[in-house]
C-alpha cells in the first residue's frame, strides 16, 4: 500500500467520522464544527480525483461561505438563556431503518454494477482553463442563468432577513 492510498484512507476516515458527528451530536455548535472537517475531507476527495479547481472552490464557498452562514444561523436562532445549545432527535429507529435500507440498496447497486471505466485514465491537466472554456462554450446558457439565480437569491435573502420596521 503506497503513501497516496494511505492518505486517501485517512481523508476518508476524517470525512466519514466527522459526518457521523454532524449527524448524531446533540450539540449544534459541535455539529457545525464537525461539518467543517467533513467539507475539508470532501475537498480532499476532489483533489484525489484531480479536480483541483473544484477542491479550491469547495474550500472557498463551503468552508468560507456556507459554513459561516450556518454558524451565524445557529448563534442567532437559539435562546441565549441556556448556555448549552442542544437539539433533539425524533423517530430515530424508523429513520435508521429507512436510511439503512436505502444505503444498503445503493451500495449494492454500486458494488454489483459493471461500470464503464476508461482503460486509460485521462491526462492530468489543469482543470481551471478547461472549465472556463466550457462555461463560455457549451455551458454558456446554464452559466448565465446561474448568475441570475444567484443575484435573485441573494437580493431575496437580504429582503427576507431584514427586520420589518412597523413602528
Amino acid at each position: 500500500m503506497d503513501l497516496a492510498t494511505v492518505i486517501f484512507y485517512v481523508f476518508v476516515l476524517i470525512t466519514l467520522g466527522s459526518a457521523a458527528v454532524v449527524v448524531v451530536s446533540r450539540n449544534i455548535v459541535r455539529a457545525a464544527f464537525a461539518l467543517l472537517f467533513t467539507l475539508f475531507g470532501v475537498a480532499a476527495m476532489y483533489a484525489f480525483l484531480m479536480a483541483d479547481f473544484l477542491a479550491v472552490t469547495q474550500l472557498l464557498v463551503y468552508v468560507g461561505g456556507i459554513l459561516v452562514l450556518l454558524i451565524f444561523g445557529v448563534m442567532l436562532t437559539n435562546r441565549q438563556i441556556s448556555v448549552d445549545i442542544k437539539t433533539g432527535t425524533v423517530q430515530t429507529w424508523l429513520a435508521a431503518l429507512i436510511v439503512a435500507a436505502l444505503g444498503g440498496t445503493l451500495a449494492g447497486i454500486v458494488w454489483s454494477t459493471q461500470w464503464n471505466i476508461l482503460s486509460q485514465p485521462p491526462a492530468e491537466t489543469a482543470g481551471a482553463p478547461k472549465i472556463g472554456e466550457m462555461f463560455l462554450g457549451s455551458y454558456l446558457l446554464p452559466f448565465e442563468i446561474a448568475s441570475a439565480v444567484l443575484l435573485v437569491a441573494l437580493i431575496g435573502a437580504a429582503l427576507i432577513a431584514r427586520r420589518e420596521r412597523t413602528s
Binding site: L49, Y62, G65, T77, V99, G103, W111, P122, L154, A161
Partner: protein, 112 residues
C-alpha cells in the same frame, strides 16, 4: 470473493471507492434530515447530500467519461447550494422571530 481480492480492492482506490463514500455521506445526510428537530441541522443534512452528489459527478467524470462535464455540473451544484443556504437561513431567521423556535416539528402554522 476471498480475502486477497478484498485486499487488492482496498489497495487500489478507484471508482467504486468514491461511489461507496458518497453513498455513506448521502445516507448520513438523509438520516440527519429525517431525525433532526432543528431546522439548521436539517440544512446541514442537505449540505451533506449535495456534497455526496458532487463526489459522484466528479468520480464519474474522472473514471468513466474522462471529460470535464462532471466538474462543471459540480460547480453548478455548489452555486445552487450557496443560494439555497442564503435563502434558507433568511427564512429560518424570520421563523425564529415569529415563533421563537426553529424546531421543525413545532412549526405547524402558516401564520399566527
Amino acid at each position: 470473493m476471498n480475502m486477497d481480492d478484498i485486499l487488492t480492492w482496498l489497495e487500489h482506490p478507484g471508482l467504486t471507492h468514491f461511489l461507496l463514500l458518497s453513498v455513506l455521506l448521502f445516507s448520513m445526510g438523509l438520516y440527519a434530515i429525517l431525525t433532526r428537530k432543528n431546522a439548521i441541522m436539517v440544512l446541514m443534512g442537505i449540505e451533506l447530500m449535495l456534497n455526496a452528489s458532487g463526489i459522484n459527478f466528479i468520480a464519474f467524470g474522472r473514471y468513466s467519461t474522462g471529460t470535464f462535464d462532471g466538474q462543471v455540473i459540480t460547480v453548478f451544484v455548489i452555486i445552487l447550494a450557496a443560494a439555497e443556504a442564503a435563502i434558507a437561513l433568511a427564512i429560518v431567521l424570520n421563523i425564529y422571530q415569529t415563533f421563537n423556535t426553529v424546531n421543525v416539528d413545532e412549526i405547524n402554522k402558516l401564520k399566527d
